[in-house]
């Protein structure tokens, strides 16, 4: 939007104080239990300074860096969806009065969140969930109010993780829109600064209150160089050409059996996925039977109960559940929302306890697919 500015490293805490004085709760990356997660930050001291993450299929570990980078890592097991649509929320309470009952809706005053350190793939994930929760006839009311009030401060990726493939999914590493502010961290021999770009009026207003100065061309070039470096070093890649038809047509492929032999059906991939949106509801009552509540909870298509119908589960095999997840994510999502459900963040690969890698699964199906000879299979239009 406006010209880029430069903020020195030691001015970063000014951003924290500016946000806090405006009533924002700052959520950003911090170290918890040996992983970089998103949680409330009090100051820049809570950031994982000097840490990076090493990621591969089924592997995640933190390592010390040789510099004092604050955002020198990629994405961890948390996603922003836990703040936009909490994994557990009460929808309403019901009170019995005689033969009747009345319902008390849960009316939330949305928290005023500033998300700090949102990556390009995560900005795309939010846009994908927007389509699920906001584009139809009905809206997810919690998500809507939280999403509208949240301030998005992006961080451009200057390194790629071992399981990243945002370049394949066209979701990064550089965020072009969808943020209020975007920071690119630059560490040179004697300097540590951020190139800051605003994407909205809201972002510009915040910049106006910070100790910044216009960025020099060389500084912007340094930032761009680092983002390009990330783009060139993706740990994974996925050929998305024709992937919708590839998966839908190969619903009977032997590879589903093969992957089912490894898959534990543990649901980790769906829990860490930034776009997986499935939920269930639980009805509870107290011991008097006068008071009831309904809770909505994050759910996963990997559970047996998920497809329960008339005394049994439709998807009783792991094969069918893995197929449902992967086919939905990469194929039928396109039918439903006109875009892929995958951002290439790589979380499902990293956090799979047996290192199942969707890029590898798609490639295996592609290599041995007989789809050329098959008749077209499309969602029919009547």
């Amino acid at each position: 939007m406006s010209d880029q500015v430069v903020m020195e490293r030691n001015e970063l805490n000014g951003l924290f104080t500016a946000l806090q004085s405006q009533g924002y709760t700052i959520i950003g990356p911090t170290i918890l239990d040996g992983a970089i997660v998103y949680d409330e930050l009090a100051s820049d001291k809570d950031l994982p300074e000097g840490w990076t993450d090493e990621q591969d299929g089924g592997i995640y570990r933190l390592k010390k860096r040789f510099d004092k980078a604050l955002f020198g890592f990629v994405v961890g097991p948390y996603t922003w969806k836990r703040f936009l649509d909490p994994p557990e929320k009460r929808l309403w309470r019901a009170e019995r009065d005689g033969k009747d009952f009345h319902i008390v809706p849960e009316n939330e005053t949305p928290p005023k969140y500033a998300f700090l350190g949102v990556r390009s793939c995560e900005i795309h994930a939010m846009a994908i969930q927007d389509r699920v929760f906001l584009q139809g006839e009905y809206h997810n009311t919690t998500y809507k109010s939280r999403r509208e009030s949240a301030l998005i401060i992006g961080v451009q990726c200057v390194q790629a993780g071992g399981t990243c493939f945002c370049v394949s999914m066209n979701t990064g590493p550089k965020a072009l829109s969808g943020f209020d502010l975007a920071l690119t961290e630059v560490i040179e021999e004697n300097r540590h600064y951020f190139v800051v770009e605003s994407g909205t009026i809201r972002g510009e207003t915040i910049i106006a209150g910070l100790a910044v100065r216009p960025a020099k061309k060389t500084e912007v070039a340094e930032a761009e160089k680092r983002i390009s470096h990330a783009a060139e070093n993706m740990g994974r890649s996925l050929n998305t050409e024709g992937v919708r038809d590839l998966l839908v047509k190969n619903h009977d492929h032997a590879r589903w059996d093969e992957v089912a032999n490894r898959c534990l059906s543990c649901a980790n991939c769906t829990m860490v996925c930034p776009t997986c949106f499935c939920s269930t509801v639980e009805d509870v009552t107290d011991i008097t039977g006068e008071h009831a509540e309904r809770w909505q909870k994050q759910d996963s298509c990997f559970t047996l109960d998920f497809s329960y119908l008339h005394g049994g589960s439709v998807r009783s095999s792991t094969r069918s559940r893995y197929r449902q997840w992967l086919t939905h994510k990469l194929a039928t999502w396109i039918d439903q929302f006109d875009e892929s459900g995958c951002t290439g963040c790589g979380r499902c690969i990293t956090w799979c306890p047996v290192a199942i890698d969707l890029t590898e699964e798609v490639e295996a199906i592609r290599k041995s697919s007989s789809m050329e000879s098959d008749p077209p299979i499309e969602k029919g239009k009547s």
Binding site: L91, W92, A94, R96, K99, D100, F101, H102, I103, P105, V132, F133, G136, E137, Y138, N140, T141, V248, H251, D252, F277, C278, S279, T280, V281, D283, V284, T285, G289, A292, R294, Q296, D299, C301, F306, S307, Y308, L309, H310, G311, V314, R315, S316, S317, R319, S320, Q324, H328, T332, D335, Q336, I377, E378, K379, G380, K381, S382
Partner: protein
Amino acid sequence: MDTSNPMIPQPRKIKRVIRETHDTFTLCVEPETVELEKSFKPGQFNMLYAFGAGEVPISISGDPRKPDVWHHTIRDMGVVTRALTNLKAGDTVGVRGPFGSAWPVQESRGNDIVIIAGGIGLAPLRPAIYALLEERDQFGEIVLLYGARTQEDLLFTKEFERWRGKYGVQVRVTIDSAGRDWKGNVGVVTTLFPGVRFDPANSVAMICGPEVMMRFAVLELKNLGIEDRNIYVTMERNMKCAIGFCGHCQFGPSFICKDGPVFPFSEISPFFGIREI
């Protein structure tokens, strides 16, 4: 319904409970509004909430032109439907809806209509039958082929005579297993086709029943020459939210709750019959 928060059920009074069979009953519920245009369309469903027990999707089985009461025909199958069984006239039930797509009644004017129902599958088709009979002269032959497990499981049998006599509907009934006193057909519903009159080239079929029954009914209709796009089926899957958010009811690319439950067969045929889809 309050569309600003579609997850909140509206407590509604039960006007009447009709016992239909040994395990099936109809809850007649007072809707929020009696305006005809805000009423339901044949084929749509409501989410019914039994206090403290939970919520289930139940199709609306009554007359769409009588918007002062919504009928829900329910089989006692699980925890929530059991809790609904225990409700009586004057009690309160939570209602969200109506949701979903409708049978193509007006769209089928000028055609013969073939309705095929299995068991409780007749419930979501009954509003379509009422709507068809309301403008009987707009349609050619109307055929109802209805199958159930036993004589005791047949629904709405009292209405069959009126549909036959007053409206000339070809009602054919069959059951899977019969006692000594049963003088009708025995066998699967597709055995009822021989002898019914309709013109396959100008017919619209509407089917609701177990998936296996629908599969064979579709095969039979196609053999007779009805095109996929003129065959409508209603699908069922686990459902929590009814508005496309919970993900449970996905069937290939379709959400049963918002794209269905009524689909032209041509829309779902690529996925119909795939095991564990």
